[in-house]
């Protein structure tokens, strides 16, 4: 952490030399301040898209994970097939496919936002499915037997006994996926989503100061992700009070 701050400090100080032109994002000048506002405004879609996508992918992941734990081979095959295929598609390719390909296939046109969310969520759901499967499998057999001995059915066993414990255990991994999602959302800039990366790209085209603008972009993601990390840690601590 300390080293990082030193690096940032050096980067800022070197703005005095000829190589840097911080004026482009200098908040004390009128154009610099408006450029900065322009860049930061992209955070809205970066966050909205990532959070929507992670919510969908968690639900989707759980729905794919459960058949993977079934006694029936056909269900497990469905799980394996889904995970292996979806996991093998690069996110960028999936974004392009959903945005340009899916309308031709289904006649259904998605706007940039939902195409991006759908691609991100689909891609992440395969990973979520594996995380959930691991988490659920880590719960001891005794918990299922205890649930069975008080006659809980499968749904209630999952809902009240297994999943609450499994989710506590996979929380660090879920936090990891959210961080990953925030970063991967930058790829949706290629289809024109006005999120952080797209805004930076547009500014670079008009101002022609890629070094400063992309440095600010790096810092924007860094701040976002540090906030998410802190949030996940807080949640973990809060939930730990009721862990085994």
């Amino acid at each position: 952490m300390k080293r990082l701050w030193i690096l940032i400090a050096i980067a800022c100080l070197s703005g005095c030399s000829d190589n840097w032109g911080w004026y482009v994002v200098d908040p004390s000048t009128k154009s610099g301040a408006s450029n900065l506002r322009f860049m930061i405004s992209g955070a809205y879609y970066t966050i909205l898209m990532s959070v929507t996508a992670i919510l969908i992918s968690v639900v989707l992941g759980l729905l794919v994970a459960l058949p993977g734990l079934s006694q029936r081979k056909a269900w497990r095959m469905f799980n394996r097939t889904y995970v292996e295929i979806v996991r093998a598609v690069p996110i960028l390719v999936l974004i392009l496919w959903v945005y340009y390909g899916l309308p031709q296939l289904s006649g259904l046109t998605l706007n940039v936002f939902w195409a991006g969310v759908l691609a991100l969520a689909l891609s992440d759901s395969a990973f979520q499915a594996e995380i959930f499967r691991g988490g659920i499998q880590s719960i001891s057999k005794g918990q299922y037997e205890a649930a069975q001995s008080i006659s809980l059915n499968y749904r209630d066993t999952m809902r009240y006994v297994i999943l609450p414990q499994a989710i506590r255990r996979i929380l660090p991994a879920l936090g990891n996926q959210l961080v990953y999602m925030l970063k991967m959302s930058s790829l949706v800039s290629v289809i024109g989503m006005q999120e952080l990366t797209r805004k930076a790209n547009e500014l670079v085209v008009s101002e022609y100061r890629p070094l400063e603008i992309y440095t600010i972009l790096v810092l924007e993601y860094l701040v976002l992700i540090l906030i998410v990390s802190a949030g996940v840690r807080w949640l973990e601590r809060r939930m730990q009070s009721s862990e085994v």
Binding site: A146, Q148, I150, S151, S242, E243, V244
Partner: protein, 248 residues
């Protein structure tokens, strides 16, 4: 011919785990309200036997009848007897993320359809019965082993089963906590509930059991009243077993 009072009948039950035969032609009859203690060396099939009674394990051959419902190897009737049979485990198996009271009310609320108040009232009745009403809002990990096992007993009782199975309920406990759990079980035994207890606690068996069952290598070797088996065991193996656990 089983009389009308018979609540559990096992008829030539067989069970394998891979090549290992856990139960060999096991037949047993338990009458309503009877207290049965099953003992025997480890690996003798005691736990498997009671786990077949509530169908945590399924048997391959033979017939098990529990409270009028026949569980055969081919038909799946397990759900019909679940509310009839409760079970207390060696490792307690409390739900660690739920408070004691929530552990107790989950079944009554979700399975028996009781309201929250009714379920809580019932839970408190049984917590008093196992003498820990003051621990209701704690989490399982904040309790001692003995207290946890008493909560587990109360959790089973909350479903008001006709039959309660105990799978080595004191084997995971520190010595000083065994007594408090056995006391609760002794009190329960006087209430008329049918109990089948797998245990090595011979003092408890002598005090409470109506019937003793000795198992070895998947077979029932001997059954009898505690007086019969403690004073004059018929089989050599049971005599040897008793000698080992009573004179250690």
């Amino acid at each position: 011919m089983p009389d009308s009072n018979t609540i559990i009948t096992l008829n030539n039950v067989n069970k394998h785990f891979g090549d290992f035969q856990a139960l060999k032609n096991v037949s047993l009859e338990v009458t309503s309200g009877e207290r049965v203690v099953i003992c025997g060396p480890s690996g003798s099939g005691k736990s498997t036997l009671i786990r077949c009674i509530n169908q945590l394990e399924t048997h391959e051959a033979g017939e098990i009848t529990v409270d009028g419902v026949t569980l055969s190897a081919t038909q799946n009737n397990a759900h019909k007897i679940k509310a009839t049979v409760g079970m207390v485990f060696q490792q307690f198996n409390l739900f660690p993320h739920l408070s004691v009271i929530d552990n107790l009310t989950l079944g009554p609320r979700r399975v028996l359809g009781l309201s929250e108040e009714a379920a809580k009232a019932r839970a408190m009745t049984y917590l008093e019965r196992v003498q820990i009403p003051d621990q209701a809002d704690k989490l399982p990990r904040q309790l001692s082993g003995g207290q946890q096992q008493r909560v587990a007993i109360a959790r089973s009782l909350c479903m008001e089963p006709k039959i309660l199975l105990f799978d080595e309920p004191t084997s995971a406990l520190d010595p000083e906590m065994i007594a408090e759990v056995l006391d609760v079980m002794t009190e329960l035994a006087s209430s008329g509930i049918t109990m089948i207890v797998v245990t090595h606690e011979m003092g408890f068996a002598r005090r409470v059991a109506d019937k003793m069952v000795f198992m070895d290598q998947g077979e029932i070797i001997e059954t009898g009243t505690p007086e019969q088996v403690f004073t004059a065991p018929k089989s050599q193996r049971f005599a040897h077993f008793l000698e080992q656990i009573l004179n250690h």
